[in-house]
Symmetry: C2
Subunit: 221 residues, 2 copies
DNA sequence: AGAATGAAAATCTGATTGATTTTTTCATTC
DNA sequence: GAATGAAAAAATCAATCAGATTTTCATTCT
């Protein structure tokens, strides 16, 4: 486990500007048609599809790693079939997410497609790495991702990372030191930043947690 | 003046998914080539270009409204010529921005391309409308826009709006009531939301200002 | 019954080309 | 040095087609 979109661990293969999952179907809102018995979004299947796409993988790519057929995966992603627990574990491992992520949907209220309450966010990284990231959008997918990130006092990015994404953030609380292409920036409450393509790393040199809003486009989770 | 990206006043004509200004050239970072004497980004010209594009206008479209030639506008946008004050006033009017916006660049430090300090954001809307929006990214353009928005106590969106964008936000302080396609959502500190294509409006029914981070893709400013 | 497969059918994506639009360049005038 | 206008260059768009990806579905498995 122990993910970190703000870290180098996660590597995105997809090209920029593909516009692939730019709010088209991978999203949730809408859910128009009415035949399929299980909704595919805001569900495990929808998550898997969004995750797969954020990596630029095809059904075949993922099916191979899962040692399952493509047809089955297609059905799972569209909610027409349920994956076994073992499959979910494998998927979680592949995407470096806690298994709990797939079961921490917001309660199935009417507001689910639009609103995420502060106390029911889905967390991507578990404690212990010094960084806790949780999703602020109702589901994976869309043109960008908003993440609520808490960097523990003293936490440090294991190694610099580069991603084919555009990223920006805002410091809500505490302070965080960011290194962008070697340059050092001390960000305090109210400061914001943006980068795209640079080599980045971070440290929380303060003695309180740093709380940031971090936006990434296209999504990496 | 009195703009409001969170309001219906601003109408975006561009199609979705064009991927036009998706972090390609409209951005800043880089500034590689070395001939042109004036840098075009982080400058008035760069702003005008980004604004024009966010509306889906061509040089011709804007030149007509400015009653200037296309060649001249091209030069202005690339910093090879300076617009007269009168032109800037017209541009500000066209894009519904305060003239000051074009002169409130961050100080020309090394961090300018990456960081915006809390005390030197560029403000898009002036006081008095109940909504103050300021830019959290170093410049206009890019795949999305992060805005710091303060909704005064009692402020209300003049009329519902629809935009061809994907938008998400996070409540830092206070609370804001959002109407998405008729449904009412009371958002409090720590809550977040996302919508795309729906009809939206808002009110701050609380007695303190609501402070939000608001993300819009593609940019509307 | 529902998971899972495999293969055919449908859909989507990417590359190509040429026509059109948009942008840049530049010699010239204000 | 601003500003124009027209030629040159570059970027965009629509149509097309081949190949890749996804969906569907009849069938088998548990």
């Amino acid at each position: 486990m122990g993910t970190a979109s703000c870290c180098g661990e996660r590597i995105v293969l997809m090209k920029l500007n593909t516009g692939t999952n730019a709010g088209s179907d991978s999203g949730t809102r809408g859910e128009a048609g009415g035949q399929p018995p299980v909704r595919s979004s805001g569900s495990i299947g929808g998550d898997i599809r969004a995750l797969r796409r954020s990596r630029g993988w095809t059904l075949t790519d993922l099916a191979e790693r899962l040692e399952r057929s493509v047809g089955w995966l297609s059905q799972v992603e569209r909610g027409q079939s349920e994956p076994a627990l073992a499959d979910i574990r494998t998927v979680a491992g592949l995407f470096d997410l806690p298994v709990s992520f797939f079961f921490s949907q917001s309660p199935d209220t009417a507001e689910a497609p639009y609103v995420v309450r502060g106390d029911s966010r889905r967390t991507m990284s578990d404690e212990g790495k010094g960084l806790v990231e949780s999703l602020l959008s109702p589901d994976l997918g869309g043109a960008f991702e908003i993440v609520h990130s808490v960097f523990a006092a003293g936490a440090r990015c294991p190694e610099p990372f580069v991603r084919p994404t555009e990223e920006a953030g805002y410091v809500i609380e505490g302070s965080l030191t960011l290194f962008i292409d070697g340059e050092r920036f001390e960000l305090n409450q109210g400061d914001s930043f943006r980068f795209a393509g640079e080599t980045v790393s971070w440290v929380n040199e303060g003695d309180v947690p740093a709380v940031l809003i971090w936006v990434i486009a296209p999504p990496v989770y």
